[in-house]
Symmetry: C2
Subunit: 328 residues, 2 copies
DNA sequence: TTGAAAGCGCTAACAC
DNA sequence: GTGTTAGCGCTTTCAA
């Protein structure tokens, strides 16, 4: 009968109840060191009976290990935090962290003030997940944070990278477009300062050149609104465009909306493909052809790595798979 | 010149540099109690110079205040955590928590095991945000958590509620449908056990009855897939349906996809309206008519309330506004 | 106005 | 194997 004690039960209470020292109780509960079977049993029994829950805060303090993981998103302004992609990443991180008693907080890292990272060099921070990061930020990682920072995107010698295989996904999509007979394929990119998005652009350029096709780039920013404008721009510059590849599904949906507004049939007149496979890609009209982007899996792996303090290879790439639907 | 000390600087370092005691430094930096102008200045100067960052963990330990906020989502199984709505809520919480040095973790609360909450009665938890909660969970809030738990949805005497005005939003949408000449309006609901979603149903029933119109309910679960099936069901049961109101935008998008699959014109043959105003509502085809659901604002207010430990009124309702687009 | 001192709950040497 | 002891970094009485 777990009497709901007003005050929360501490390790001392457990030790007393089990008639052992606090140190022994700590060892048993922590799974560390040695303890007699007898002591072990008594401690576990007492802990169960009392409903003991270790105080993560105290543990973190003494061990010097932090208690929260910061998701830091680089961008020109704080609106980068409004992206559903960021939402997904944060939620995935918050889910992995829960069993560890660790929480996640979300911060914007100004594009032009990479030193902002220094503020995170705080003993209460157990790790940092860099999102949409760039070289200057990577280079500004404070020594105190070394080994506890990973990047969802490009990495550096000091910061391991966890990312989707942008180039592979892009190639899969472009081959699909090409196989469908498209030859004048424009691309709506992400922000040009963002190196991980730039990898898709590079792949696009390489493939277009290899196939002897024209390179047609319009800059976007991952949003639908910008995709809408970009589609109009592309149409104006290159009226014979027969396909548009967008760097993200949100962008692609904006592109489709713009084409519809112009009375252009998708995919009949112009094929459209995205990247991410967001939930709405399947129900849009027409259903969006895209490539998978396992954000949750990527973030889960990244967060687990920093939580476990396990050494990680410099790059962990997650494959991207084509999802052919109606739009291309 | 902030020498990047390898070891992080502690309050002791600041006190020493300012030539005061640790207690005085603590008072000054904490803004508490009294201190001479002189001491004040010296402490602040030293803190700045040394780049002092208080260790939240230590502070939380001594104050007994926790260090993480748990977002607990009730549902039949863990897939409830996959909802973009949950993502938004977690990200918004993680954003408000950041300046406080507090992190957010995400947990699933099994529908049939409300006692799961007890596990959260942990000194390291500074608060709990209940999402999609139900009465049994509300009643199971442990005494130790009292005053630090709020609900995004229905509340209870012990748990203040922060929520969108479902009834108001529903009414706005239904009046719009009615004004557009629709008279045989079906509704796709949320899970029937979810009381906060049930408020929309109640409002729907009330309005339909008041207008002398038929009540046509199909159960959904907020997902597009279920919305798709529900639309088909509605069409089968009531072939003359001329409008479908869905409890969420995701559901509405599924409904539209289903109608399209049947060759039914939206809004010409059947009008469709959702609820939430998710980003994709504006770019879908046709653009979705819906009602706003300021999730980020709601969660921000709720999280701030528990972070500040401020007493809150039993119910804080956030208005919902009609967004008329093309689908209805 | 300030400082000394006593912890917050826990872990990890180091003795026994 | 087990207990004693010394802190982790900070806040907060309580005296001075």
């Amino acid at each position: 009968m777990p009497a709901p004690t007003a005050r929360s039960v501490t390790l001392d209470d457990v030790a007393r109840a089990a008639e052992v020292s606090r140190a022994t109780a700590s060892r048993v509960l922590g799974g560390y060191g040695f303890a007699s079977v007898d002591a072990r049993d008594r401690v576990h029994a007492a802990a169960d009976r009392l409903g003991y829950v270790p105080n993560i805060t105290a543990r973190a303090l003494v061990r010097g290990t932090g208690v929260r993981l910061v998701v830091a998103v680089t961008g020109t302004d704080a609106t980068v935090l409004d992206d559903p992609y960021v939402d997904r990443a944060v939620a995935a991180a918050a889910r992995v962290c829960a069993p560890h008693g660790v929480g996640v907080s979300l911060e914007w890292l100004p594009l032009d003030a990479p030193a902002g990272l220094r503020r995170l060099d705080d003993r209460s921070v157990c790790g940092v997940l860099l999102v949409n990061t760039i070289a200057p930020v990577l280079d500004a990682v404070p020594a105190g944070l070394r080994g506890r920072v990973v990047s969802i995107g490009v990495g550096s010698p000091a910061v391991p990278s966890f990312d989707v295989d942008n180039a592979g996904g892009t190639e899969a999509v472009l081959r699909h477009l090409h196989a469908g007979g498209r030859r004048r394929i424009a691309m709506v990119t992400g922000p040009r300062w963002l190196s991980c998005a730039e990898r898709s652009v590079t792949a696009y350029q390489r493939l277009m050149r290899a196939a002897g096709l024209p390179v047609r780039l319009v800059t976007g920013d991952f949003t639908a609104a910008r995709g809408h404008r970009a589609a109009l721009t592309a149409l104006r510059r290159w009226p014979d465009t027969d396909a548009i590849y967008a760097v993200s599904d949100a962008t692609a949906l904006g592109v489709i909306a713009a084409l519809r507004g112009r009375g252009i049939q998708v995919p009949h007149d112009v094929a459209v493909a995205g990247f991410d496979d967001i939930p709405y890609a399947a129900v849009s009209a027409p259903a969006l052809t895209t490539a998978t982007h396992p954000v949750a899996r990527i973030v889960t792996a990244a967060a687990s790595a920093v939580l476990d303090g396990r050494p990680v290879p410099p790059v962990t790439a997650f494959p991207s798979r084509l999802v052919a639907r109606e739009s291309a």
